[in-house]
Amino acid sequence: MENMNDSREESSGIVSEASDPRVLVIIPAYNEAANIARVIQSVYKYAPKADVLVVNDGSRDDTAYLAEEAEAQVVSHPFNMGYGAACQTGFKYAWRKGYNYVIQMDGDGQHEPACIPDLLAAVEDPDVDIVLGSRWLGVNQYQGPILRKFGKFYFAFLAGLITRKKVTDPTTGFQALSRAVVQFYCTEVYPVDYPDADMLIVLDRAGFHVKEVPVIMYHNRTGQSMHSGLFRPMYYGLKMMMSIMMTLLRDDSSFRRHTPSPIMHKPFGSVKKTPSET
């Protein structure tokens, strides 16, 4: 029995060295069998100390199996729930297991894992709560469709206008989060479908400090974008306008930071307090 308890404590990583913060790389994945193994290997190459979690969002291919083969931890949704829900599952997992920092990135190879150390270095600054990887700052190889580019610029401009902070790429899915933001995202403030420019305003109202760091992004070659087609961009635009308006209309109490849902209230193992929490 003793033997079993020991190995359990070891595996849940209760021991966290002060000099060595625990980092979890969250990869939400839906039918990403073609790319997932390569992405995980690449992440381990550039962030050897980090743990990788693949949130399999009800894929109908071998995504979960391939991710496990590539030595990632895998959490599988019983059915497809969308990008936002998959990210939030990852945050809940990270919060429960006591990770200090979280990197969020896509599983389709669009985000360059070589940029992870940059994001981590930026989020380890105690004055910064969340770091957004921007494809528009510095060098970039990203060339998306012109209409999408326009839409994204428009919402970036709007979010910047409201928060009075310059943000070039609020729609990025390549981010680094501190534990305080992870906890905040575990509550119902996090959107079910897809988080976007409106989240910037939410973060601003909750008093978090956002920073941008240039990252390399490639244009999505194989997979289908969440916003492709004729009607989806229109729906996206309307939904964004509504989200931003509603966020502005809510009162401050809805942005208070509180502990996530009832059963998840106790983290798994002791946790080192991050500066922003104290």
Binding site: S7, V55, V192, M264
Partner: protein, 157 residues
Amino acid sequence: MSRTQIVALISAITLLIIVLELVRQRRLREEYSWLWLIVSVCYLLVALWAYPAKWLANVIGTTNIPLALNYLGLQFLMLILIQYSVRLSKLTNHVKALAQQIAILDSEQNKLMGEVMNNNGEDMHQDTHQVLEQSEILRQRIDLLQTELNKLAAASG
């Protein structure tokens, strides 16, 4: 009492009984029932007296009483539908939270099961080692006894 009034009265009472009976049998929860109760009571009032319908027609600016009644019914139906949408949103959030929690707990359980299996494997490994060691010792003893026996046999001639 006109024929229409009788039909309306019977319909209203039937609706009221159905709603109350469903609540009594716990097939309809109280929180969902109150809007239906209001609807059936209003229906009953309108069926019993002509005055409420006339008053309503006056309020919405028409002399057409059936139109006023249609208007009232439509408003109630819309309210009930909105209530459904709200419940649906709430249920969607609950389903999401449950699915997320199941997914996380499932991954934890898989991991623990894996560890238990591995531990059993190690134990078995150790046992095998011990058995092999013991059998080796026994074999050496048998060898010794064999030589002793040979010596004794030789000595006895």
